[in-house]
């Protein structure tokens, strides 16, 4: 496969421009205002897969946004790789913090990306990383080097919990049958320290509502005499962590996998520069659960974070009001063996139980998913590792990620195959944040590396 580099070099502008076109469509699945754009994006993905060489591409309708399914079947006796990705993106707000509009992609140079990076919502998560696979397929098909069968399943609801994808997978086990699942929706340590994600955290996402009086009250006339829902909400949320930043929900840690001293020592070998980490996000100190390192806190330990909070008067100036209601969105990242539905239930039960008299509390579960760990001795992992060795010249480091792709555990359960997480993004890419970007180098390196995975995986299976 000597000519993948020359394919990239001679098609570089086109590879970038096609992705830029895709990034212009604001496919925000969380916000109904963008529903039409999400559908337009599904169509664009369908066309891209057809152009890249799929024999069949379908828009599979669901109760929500459709799944784009494509396949190129070479020979039933050869292995089948199922590529999963998503074409929906996170909301862009707070929009005023973007240096350029989120849906008008621009390529700008940065310290980490002297070759330039594409700035746009979805540049990395996941349009950019998903599109690497489309272009890798194009390369393999156009040069007659596709060594095995390939199936694509690109969904439009990853950012809102993949509820309809779960149903689709359960109903289409035969169609989706494969030998390995390949996903690029994670990151790597750095451009010169390639890594493969071997673990993902699970997720439980809930929204809580605290109601006090039946209307907003004047804080002078009622202040001090009635439960203020915002004060109560802050008290309730604050009580969810103890002074050592352990989570206080009864039963929360019951099934948490505790790593051995050896495993933790192994983890501690991964390169980590505390000063650089702090500098990159502008903090003067890290913060978290007592007894664990930063890398442990954001990978092997569960968390509870408020993702949004609101209530009362939030406009200009002052309003002396006691709000009738206060709200928060809270997510918990879970580790292997924690069941997200069980955790959601434990949270709801506990949160409701700590409400004082004078308020009522509602907990609305949003969505969730299980954590996932993949072994490093599988054929898939070895095929991926060897692919990185070829294109990076280094053996990649296996690494647990703090993020979640809730659907991965379900894939294993329903489709009985392992998932390989070949991510080419960087932590600094600001996914889910203003100024999300994806390095041009990373994008092209992904397109270069993926075909070697196909080659290695097929050879190792034969």
């Amino acid at each position: 496969m000597q000519d993948v580099k020359s394919f990239i070099n001679s098609n570089k502008d086109r590879l970038l421009n096609e992705l830029i076109e895709l990034l212009k469509i604001p496919s925000v699945s969380a916000d109904p205002a963008y529903a039409h754009d999400v559908l337009t994006t599904a169509d664009a993905v369908k066309q891209a897969l057809e152009k890249a060489g799929c024999d069949t591409v379908e828009i599979c309708e669901t109760q929500g946004f459709p799944i784009v399914y494509g396949e190129k079947l070479v020979d039933p006796s050869l292995p089948t790789i199922l590529v999963y990705g998503h074409y929906d993106v996170q909301p862009a707000d707070p929009i005023n913090l973007w240096d350029s509009p989120p849906y008008e992609p621009v390529i700008k140079k940065t310290e980490l990306h002297p070759e330039g990076a594409i700035f746009a919502r979805g540049a990395c998560d996941d349009k950019g990383q998903m599109y690497m696979h489309v272009k890798a397929l194009e390369f393999m098909v156009s040069t007659n080097q596709l060594p095995c069968n390939v199936k694509f399943m690109i969904e439009g609801e990853e950012e809102v919990g993949s509820v309809n994808l779960s149903i689709f997978v359960k109903e289409n086990r035969e169609k989706l049958k494969n030998d390995v699942i390949l996903i690029s929706d994670t990151g790597m340590i750095s451009k010169d320290v390639p890594s493969i994600t071997t673990g993902l955290r699970g997720l439980s996402y809930v929204e809580v509502e605290v109601t006090g009086p039946n209307r907003d009250l004047h804080s002078g006339l009622y202040g001090g005499a009635v439960a203020n829902p915002i004060n109560i909400l802050t008290k309730m949320i604050a009580s969810l962590h103890d002074k050592d930043n352990h989570i206080t929900i009864p039963g929360f840690y019951d099934n948490v996998e505790e790593l051995s001293t050896e495993e933790r020592a192994e983890m501690a070998k991964a390169p980590f520069n505390l000063e650089g980490y702090q500098k990159s996000i502008g903090i003067n100190s890290v913060y978290g659960e007592k007894g664990y390192s930063t890398n442990e806190r954001n990978s092997i330990r569960p968390t509870l974070d408020v993702n949004g909070i609101w209530g009362g008067y939030t406009g200009e100036g002052a309003k002396t009001v006691i709000a009738s209601k206060a709200y928060a969105k809270i997510s918990m990242r879970l580790v292997p063996n924690q069941d997200w539905e069980n955790i959601t239930e434990l949270f709801s039960k506990h949160f409701t139980s700590i409400a004082p008299e004078g308020v009522t509390v509602k907990v609305n579960p949003h969505h969730g998913g299980q954590g996932y760990v993949t072994p490093i001795d599988s054929v898939g992992y070895r095929a991926a590792s060897k692919a990185y060795e070829t294109t990076f010249g280094k053996t990649p480091i296996p690494q647990r990620s703090g993020g979640s792709i809730p659907i991965v555990a379900l894939f294993e359960k329903e489709l009985q195959s392992k998932t390989i997480l070949m991510g080419f993004g960087l932590d600094s890419d600001a996914i889910h944040s203003p100024n999300e970007h994806f390095g041009v180098w990373n994008y092209l390196k992904g397109i270069e590396t993926i075909p070697y995975f196909y080659k290695n995986f097929t050879e190792m299976n034969s």
Copy 2:
């Protein structure tokens, strides 16, 4: 003054319609978008004062919204009453909770107001109560019964802290010279239990900002490893009260006036129906500082309430983000002897000191004012009490209010005269809330009672 009732009866529709016209102008001082409307309202008040019989009315410019000043001077040897009120209103949001648009006044009957109540922002606070004075003047002038001199000072920034009024008062001591200040910007216990407000709480209003990372972060990649500004803000706010709901700011209670057992016993005699109180605001339990009754908690005790909180993702659906910043608006109601500037400083110092490493905290003081207590043996109080006896047939109960009119303490200091708080609103009028209203009966009863105060005060001073 036998004909005040017949004046009201024969002019009732006009008295209501004139107020309704004034209520149509959205004079929200807190929101720059309404600046033009605030100015239009000042003009309308000027015209109303001229029409009611003032000899001179001026629009006095300030650094902010103007003060409308009017006077009718009968004889320098007679007493002078200074009427204070405000023509600005609170913001109307949350606008979706109004049953009818806030600036399209309608008269509707309610359980407490079988004669009807005017529903509109400012109906009670303070356009309605202020306009009672304008109409009482009209009655006295038109029937040649004005027994003394009268000055009106109607401002447009009460809801945002009266900063420019303070300057105006200091610069116009001679012009504003008076023997008593009369204000209707408070309430009374009920329609059959008239009361006069003898105490107001002070106020310190601040806005706080907690900053963590320099940008919003992905809660999977960073969750658990960096201080989440929203979680931290909830912890910090929660820590401001202990388990007995005492405020934990060091020095906060140092100057709080503690009432004697006798005084508290006297207070406890005021009629109070806990069940009715809870029912009126839809709560199943009251809540507050241990060791104090509801009436004490909202009058003689200081408080700390969050009036607004926001941060992170607050839109539809879910976003797994760790916000860079979280905010809250916090107000403290103060009791006599607590100095608001001192309390603001104590708050700022304490709040900044409890911020953990990993975040920075800013405290921006908004505005504030001192508490106020007026004696019940003054000429002014006795004149007011006797006026209520005439029109209600009952001696009014002296009562401390939980609300604040920060400018009152300044009036006493700068103008050396006592303020009499003759309020005709009810707690259930929903001032500062959606569906604010003012009983037609209360409005007319105010117009009826005020002239007797003029008469009594002049006679008692002669």
